[in-house]
């Protein structure tokens, strides 16, 4: 039989685990984004052989802040995210209908499609088949964009 009283006398209440764990749960939603950004940034740094210190200089923040970013614990501002995107030539934020799996080449095609929406509606309707876009996706994104911009 173990002596639990002795254990309780010996043990201190210095553990901050519960508090930290509750904070992690409370901030879970934005932490998830922060973690995904950290993964992308870290993998890019490794791929391009850029040190955290160098990145700090590139985006004019302290190395300590970069370290917080790559740990995935920083509640980043849009400004910082944009600086990271520009400095590392990567995309960190995607709009609702984009996903990280969209390849650069597809994105270029899509931007091309948007260009035509703004310039000539008929052209884009014809392009729908060319780019093999999902009709629902096309209607939702393109027509809504167009309506907003051209008052349809």
């Amino acid at each position: 039989m173990a002596n639990i009283n002795k254990l309780n006398n010996l043990a201190t209440n210095n553990s901050n685990w519960l508090e930290e764990a509750k904070n992690r749960q409370k901030n879970k939603e934005w932490l998830k984004h922060s973690q995904k950004i950290a993964i992308k940034v870290l993998r890019t740094l490794r791929e391009k052989s850029i040190k955290q210190k160098e990145l700090a200089a590139m985006i004019s923040v302290t190395p300590q802040q970069v370290n917080k970013i790559v740990k995935g614990k920083e509640n980043l501002t849009l400004e910082t995210i944009s600086k990271l995107e520009n400095a590392l030539e990567i995309k960190l934020i995607f709009s609702k209908n984009e996903s990280k799996s969209i390849s650069k080449s597809f994105k270029i095609e899509k931007e091309y499609v948007y260009f035509h929406i703004y310039s000539n509606r008929e052209t884009i309707v014809n392009k729908k088949t060319d780019y093999n876009l999902n009709t629902e996706y096309f209607n939702h994104n393109c027509v809504n964009e167009k309506s907003a911009n051209y008052g349809y």
């Binding site: 039989m1 173990a2 002596n3 639990i4 002795k6 254990l7 309780n8 010996l10 043990a11 201190t12 209440n13 210095n14 553990s15 901050n16 685990w17 519960l18 930290e20 764990a21 509750k22 992690r24 749960q25 879970k28 932490l31 973690q35 995904k36 950290a38 993964i39 870290l42 993998r43 490794r46 370290n67 790559v70 740990k71 995935g72 614990k73």
Partner: protein
């Protein structure tokens, strides 16, 4: 050399080694939510991931999987911490299981673990090592992300086994357990 910190009173305790700022339990969850730590860990052990056994999981996905699993585990422990020992169906006993001694003897993964990264019956690669000194009373001594086969697992697990044995002796010295007490080495 050792200090003991309470995680859940009368139920879960963790060893704090003098050299570390945090106790082992707190340290594990901090590491398992630290992208820099995880990226570096999986980069170091990437050859272990590039196998059919792990479905050729990428480092990026391995990091995300670790975070998800740690989060699920943490939620369970929070729930238990908040419910206390009142609900017998929901205690730490349901999370921990006896340590498989085979893990310390051989490199190959036991058959029963082979489902760990597949489907809903997957078994986490996160490990928390503890000593059970009484029913539902645990003292956490360490933990790891346990990748297998080519990882230098023997050395790694030997280190964890040493920690378990050292803490057992410490508990005997402090009069918390007796020399012939029946204790279990446990892992999550």
């Amino acid at each position: 050399m050792f200090a003991v910190e309470t995680i859940i009173e009368n139920s879960l305790y963790a060893i704090k080694y003098e050299r570390n700022k945090r106790n082992e339990f707190s340290k594990l969850f901090k590491e398992w939510s630290d992208i820099e730590y995880l990226e570096s860990f999986f980069e170091k052990h990437k050859s272990d991931l590039q196998k059919e056994f792990y479905n050729f999981i990428s480092i990026e996905d391995a990091i995300e999987q670790t975070i998800e699993e740690a989060d699920e585990l943490e939620q369970k422990v929070i729930k238990i911490a908040e419910n206390g020992k009142t609900n017998n169906l929901q205690n730490l006993q349901t999370l921990f299981k006896p340590l498989n001694k085979k893990d310390f003897e051989k490199y190959p993964i036991p058959d029963y673990e082979k489902t760990k990264v597949y489907g809903s019956a997957q078994k986490s690669w996160l490990r928390i090592y503890a000593i059970r000194i009484e029913s539902n009373v645990f003292i956490v001594t360490g933990g790891a992300i346990k990748l297998t086969e080519t990882m230098n697992e023997r050395e790694h697990l030997q280190k964890e086994l040493n920690k378990l044995n050292q803490v057992k002796q410490f508990l005997i010295d402090e009069g918390i357990i007796e020399n012939d007490s029946i204790i279990d080495f446990i892992e999550f």
